[in-house]
């Protein structure tokens, strides 16, 4: 199993440990974020506030040697506040460009569903194209570039649901939950000792993200595994439990994430297990429950798990 | 569209639906019903939106209401799934209310044990709990000498006793449940006093050495009856506790939730008590069976009832 392809797995492990040492009790979330990063996608994180999302991005930015910015989405946030403005500078009497917070490597978009659709659309466009057009000029955002958007499940009032087509742009949706009790104790004691704000921690670059992403892309995929992934995604389309199945983009995302998972595990090929492990986070925001299922109180995860049971694992 | 043409256009349809609703429900017309329902919902919405005449809106409203009720009759639980109920729902409900069951058990059994011990060791004690005529009647019922003289009880008396037990014992259990609405106090009282009476009678009869008539009689149906009384006490306590401590719900919502939660227990309790009455009338009273058989069957029933009642845990995680 441990046929390491290069030094990347070791570096990845170091990065993972680094983040885990900062953000306690959320190792699964950390893994998934790393997977999304390796797959070159963006993530949508859903969870109550105060579970250390900022800390996660901070630690990750440090580990990859990149910059990070944070935008708090509010109902009055304008598209320009995200992408940037063109302003007239009186002293120089010419137009100057003021770059918005998207010009960074890691962008934490907090409570994205609080902003009106137009602002959301601006961000989602940047996510897709990785460039911003300001005053007719196209400008690349940082490289690597990754958006970690969060939304709050409890406060649904005063929020604008993300449009279905746009949700597809996120490669993963991660549900972040309260940490285990013992981890919570650890967190509490540690932060009681530290000064307010915490210490920035190790800022050494641990990994070259672009190299890692290339390596991830090179992971081997057997045809049967690819077929399996497609079958899983197709299973969501015919189901009566879902009003809306996942699109073709989901299969690609599923395979990319499975590759990233394999790389994270230090394996150079993907197995059906990798695919299956990534199904929930990849698909859960791409399907919509049928209304009667919703009334019955079933969650997306339960329904998806149900559907997985119906798909045969690949044949040899 | 003006109201007049609206009525002209759809009036006949409404009339037809009203007529079909007046007739007794056909077997499975849920599909037709659903279509009618959707149609009428739309008409009602139109009528309200366009502020049509109040009488028209009321008529449509009542029609939609009737259709809605008819439509949801099909999901009604009158089609009880017996298998799933016995296998899972009832034991699961008991498991979920295990702390209430424990409390009800203690409130029922502790006074019983104490009163039993007291009456066993103290000849006079029974009279401070029960009236003298009651004591005499109980003594007469279980007097071994009287038994030997008498013949096997007549069949019609058995049926009378069956009715008698159904009427009295199930009513006790129901009252025990209903007492929960008095913030649980009613339930506690019913449990406490029933425990006290049963305990003192048992103690008293044991002291009189009526052992061979009393215990074989009660051991069989007791398994169902006593357990059911404890369960109904638990259901009542659940209601009471929902009122006392509604948690993050409003008191009313908490009570309503509790009411819905205990429904499976109520079904189960009724069935257990009917079985108990049946056993009590036709099995326990039989004198022709040997005492050993009665003990053996009684023990078997106890084991079965307890094993079954506490088998709910494994369904919890689902």
């Amino acid at each position: 199993m441990n046929d390491s392809t290069s030094t990347t797995p070791a570096a990845l492990n170091a990065l993972r440990d680094h983040i885990n040492s900062r953000l306690i009790g959320q190792s699964q979330v950390v893994d998934q974020v790393l997977i999304a990063m390796l797959a070159g996608g963006h993530v949508l994180i859903e969870g109550v506030p105060g579970l250390g999302k900022t800390l996660l991005v901070q630690a990750m930015a440090a580990g990859i040697g990149g910059k990070f910015k944070r935008i708090q989405f509010t109902p009055d946030l304008m598209p320009g506040d995200v992408t940037g403005h063109v302003m007239f500078d009186m002293s120089q009497s010419k137009f100057v460009l003021k770059q918005g917070p998207v010009f960074t490597n890691l962008l934490l978009a907090d409570e994205i569903n609080r902003a009106p659709a137009k602002t959301q659309a601006a961000l989602l466009e940047v996510m897709q194209e990785r460039q911003v057009t300001l005053d007719g000029k196209s400008m690349k955002v940082g490289k690597p570039f990754m958006v970690l958007a969060t939304q709050n499940p409890i406060e649904q009032e005063g929020t604008y649901a993300l449009p279905e087509a746009e949700l597809d742009r996120f490669i993963l949706k991660i549900n972040i939950d309260y940490p285990q009790a013992q981890d919570e104790v650890l967190i509490a004691t540690r932060y009681a000792l530290e000064a307010f704000g915490g210490d920035p921690g190790d800022t050494r670059q641990l990994i070259d993200v672009e190299a890692a992403q290339q390596q991830c892309a090179a992971i081997e995929v057997d045809d049967r595994v690819a077929e399996y992934a497609v079958e899983l995604v197709r299973a969501t389309r015919g189901s009566t439990l879902l009003r809306h199945g996942a699109g073709p983009r989901a299969s690609i995302a599923l395979l990319r994430c499975a590759k990233a998972l394999a790389l994270l595990n230090g394996v150079s090929f993907i197995t059906p297990d990798d695919v299956k492990a990534m199904v929930l986070p990849v698909l859960r925001h791409r399907v919509i429950l049928a209304p009667e299922v919703e009334i019955d109180g079933l969650g997306v995860d339960q329904v998806l798990a149900n559907l997985l049971e119906k798909v045969d694992a690949p044949r040899s | 569209m003006k109201q007049h043409s609206f009525v002209q256009q759809h009036g006949p349809t409404w009339q037809r639906i009203e007529d079909s609703l007046a007739k007794p429900a056909q077997a499975d017309n849920s599909k037709v019903l659903a279509e009618h329902y959707l149609l009428l919902c739309q008409h009602l919405a139109i009528a309200k939106e366009r502020l049509y005449d109040a009488a028209l809106v009321e008529r449509l409203n009542n029609l939609v209401l009737a259709l809605y009720r008819e439509l949801y009759r099909y999901r009604s639980e009158t089609r009880l799934n017996f298998y799933a109920f016995f296998k899972r729902d009832f034991p699961l409900a008991i498991y979920r209310h295990r702390y209430y069951v424990l409390l009800a058990f203690l409130v029922f059994v502790m006074p019983g044990l104490i009163a039993g011990a007291w009456t066993y060791f103290d000849e006079e004690a029974v009279y401070s709990i029960l009236d003298a005529p009651e004591v005499r009647q109980v003594e007469r019922m279980y007097d071994p000498d009287a038994r030997k003289l008498g013949r096997e009880r007549e069949a019609d008396t058995d049926i009378f006793m069956f009715g008698f037990y159904i009427k009295n014992n199930i009513s006790v259990a129901f009252r025990c449940f209903a007492g929960g609405m008095l913030v649980g106090i009613g339930t506690l009282l019913v449990l406490f006093f029933n425990g006290l009476f049963i305990g003192s009678i048992a103690g008293h009869l044991t002291r009189l050495e009526y052992v061979d008539t009393f215990y074989p009689f009660v051991v069989g149906h007791g398994s169902f009856e006593l357990t059911a009384i404890v369960f109904s006490g638990a259901a009542g306590l659940r209601l009471g506790f929902a009122i006392i401590n509604p948690g993050q719900f409003s008191r009313l919502d908490s009570l309503r939730q509790a009411g819905r939660d205990v429904v499976p227990m109520l079904y189960g309790i009724v069935l257990m008590l009917v079985i108990a009455a049946f056993l009590e009338a036709f099995w326990s009273s039989s004198t022709s069976l040997s005492i050993e058989i009665k003990y053996a069957v009684g023990a078997l029933l106890w084991v079965l009832v307890l094993l079954y009642s506490f088998s709910g845990r494994r369904y919890e995680s689902r």
Partner: protein, 228 residues
Amino acid sequence: MLDTRYRVEIPGGINLDAQVVGPIPRFFAFAIDLAFRGVIVFVLSMASIPFGAFGLGGGFFLIFLFAIEWLYPVLFEVFWRGQTPGKKALGISVINDDLTPVTLGTSLVRNLLRTVDFLPLFYLAGLITMLSNRRFQRLGDLAAGTLVISVGESNRPAPQRDLVPLAPSTPLLRTEQSSIIDFLQRSQQLSEPRQRELASILEGITHEKDDNGVLQLQRLGAWFLGLR
């Protein structure tokens, strides 16, 4: 605004109204049921005496007594669209508070808890609880989440007379139009002086007085109603 209306939003996005029913009609419904049950019990007791008061007949009599005491309302409510005979006579019905039909479970809870509503004597507790909430729910109703609504016949709009419709000279709001329609449809129930009085309020619109004003309003109503 005080009203006996109970409103629930049902699937389909529609607000459905039901009229809750208070203690007086329910008293009569209960009285009818009580009489009905009394007759049944009497007939049964008569029928069972020949079979032995303490034997066969007595046994079955007790079982029926039990069933009538506890199950009579439950069975009727579940299998007869929420109505016992008494409720049927009064045009009222038991229903879950989301306006779905009562189920065995809710009906059982509701009726077993009669025992507490009965306390301390003849449903005093039930009466007090009924009067302490807007939906007239007694304790059993509260626990089961049920309520009693009226399912009586609805009013039908009155038949229209022959009128020449008249187009309004000024635009009117929807609510105003519907009140004029109401006027048209209910004018048969109103006395003529009252009709004139009402019409005089709208002199600014009809520009007519007295009987002509009334007629004018009715013609407007016919127009709004869509009579052509």
